[in-house]
Symmetry: C2
Subunit: 219 residues, 2 copies
Amino acid sequence: KRQVLVIGLGRFGSSVAATLFDRGHDVLAVDHNERRVQEMVSRSTHAVQAEATSEAALRELGVKNFDVAVVAAGHDVQSSVLATVLLQRIGVPYVVSRAQDEVHGLILEKIGAHAVVYPEKESGERLAHNLAYREVMDYLELSAGFGVSKITPPPAMLGKTLEEAGLVARGTMGLTILAIKRGAQVMLTPDRFERIQPGDILVAAGTDEQLEKVDAALG
Amino acid sequence: KRQVLVIGLGRFGSSVAATLFDRGHDVLAVDHNERRVQEMVSRSTHAVQAEATSEAALRELGVKNFDVAVVAAGHDVQSSVLATVLLQRIGVPYVVSRAQDEVHGLILEKIGAHAVVYPEKESGERLAHNLAYREVMDYLELSAGFGVSKITPPPAMLGKTLEEAGLVARGTMGLTILAIKRGAQVMLTPDRFERIQPGDILVAAGTDEQLEKVDAALG
Ligand SMILES: Nc1ncnc2c1ncn2[C@@H]1O[C@H](COP(=O)(O)OP(=O)(O)OP(=O)(O)O)[C@@H](O)[C@H]1O
Ligand SMILES: Nc1ncnc2c1ncn2[C@@H]1O[C@H](COP(=O)(O)OP(=O)(O)OP(=O)(O)O)[C@@H](O)[C@H]1O
């Protein structure tokens, strides 16, 4: 169970706080805007109004008891930079700060944020990935250019076994099928005799090129 | 190869456009702000200045030849709603629109956006997931509450085989290890005799509870 401090309850910060809270972690949600604090009362362990640029206010919140602090005080670069520095000074071991743009992100890195997040940029990359893999909902990178993707089998593969479709180790497609999602069921590590059915989603490991070749959604 | 139209070159839109372009897809990047258009010239197939709320301007761009349009004209709810309606009218088969907040998103759904994106909310959920799974870089959902995660093995498992560690089908941990990332290498579908080494990242399939129990990063 993590102890997480979230400073700044805009769209990004409130989402971090609420998601962690729903998963059973302890979340202290902080904002200098009272209305934003109120909105988070039922979606966090505690929601408190405080000025994040005040070292005294932060110490009073007992922030050094937290594992992680997320600085999501968005547009105000000065606030976000100051809060990031103060939290480290007070002794929070891991500080993640949200950047408005590349320059802001560079500053945050220089002043010691352990991780810098670019929400819009990341979501843009994710959407691009999902659009490129049209029927693919997600992608898990294993190493550069190699990962696991959920792909829609092309019509020609329907009714074939994984072996006949070339989707086995050292098969023609070069992909390894780690799982098949069939309706609400998930079949892990299917064997070579498993027959591909209409509606199946194949969870495949391979290089970007291999995944793109097979995915019926592309081309 | 997809033909994608991106309207609105803020942080989200420019990231969608540039990412798709880098992956070899055809991208037309559009914005009514000339400077933003200039910034995208080397990161898209074509970058054009145009007013997205003008049906004539959109038709002139030949938008009905596109597979997908992404409406990323952010803060201006009216522009984003109007562009979303016009694009469908002109015949773009799939329109994804970015919402500023829940109300904006509801409007976009009602007027027929095929998908609505909430970049800050999604990135917040992702960060929350990554923080909850501290050493875990990513997560691939297979079905509700069940997915594939990259986890760090707890110290007690080091030196044990997957079977000894209970990480095999019907093993004590309930997880299935689909792959092991060792340094830059990725070993797919390892057998039960594979010994877990320090630094290994296990690509494991299981329920949220099962994943949380095993991940050394949690607890
Ligand atoms: N110094 C501060 N102390 C506490 N809270 C702050 C401080 N500065 C800003 N905030 C809060 O941070 C929140 C996020 O800021 P803002 O809305 O400017 O950013 P944003 O980047 O638009 O957010 P998002 O994109 O996540 O919606 C606001 O609710 C604001 O009240
Ligand atoms: N009617 C329009 N036609 C063309 N471009 C538009 C129109 N309205 C807004 N834009 C462009 O959309 C882009 C994104 O808008 P804006 O910066 O308001 O949104 P944002 O939500 O802050 O973006 P992001 O969060 O992605 O950085 C801007 O570059 C703007 O010039």
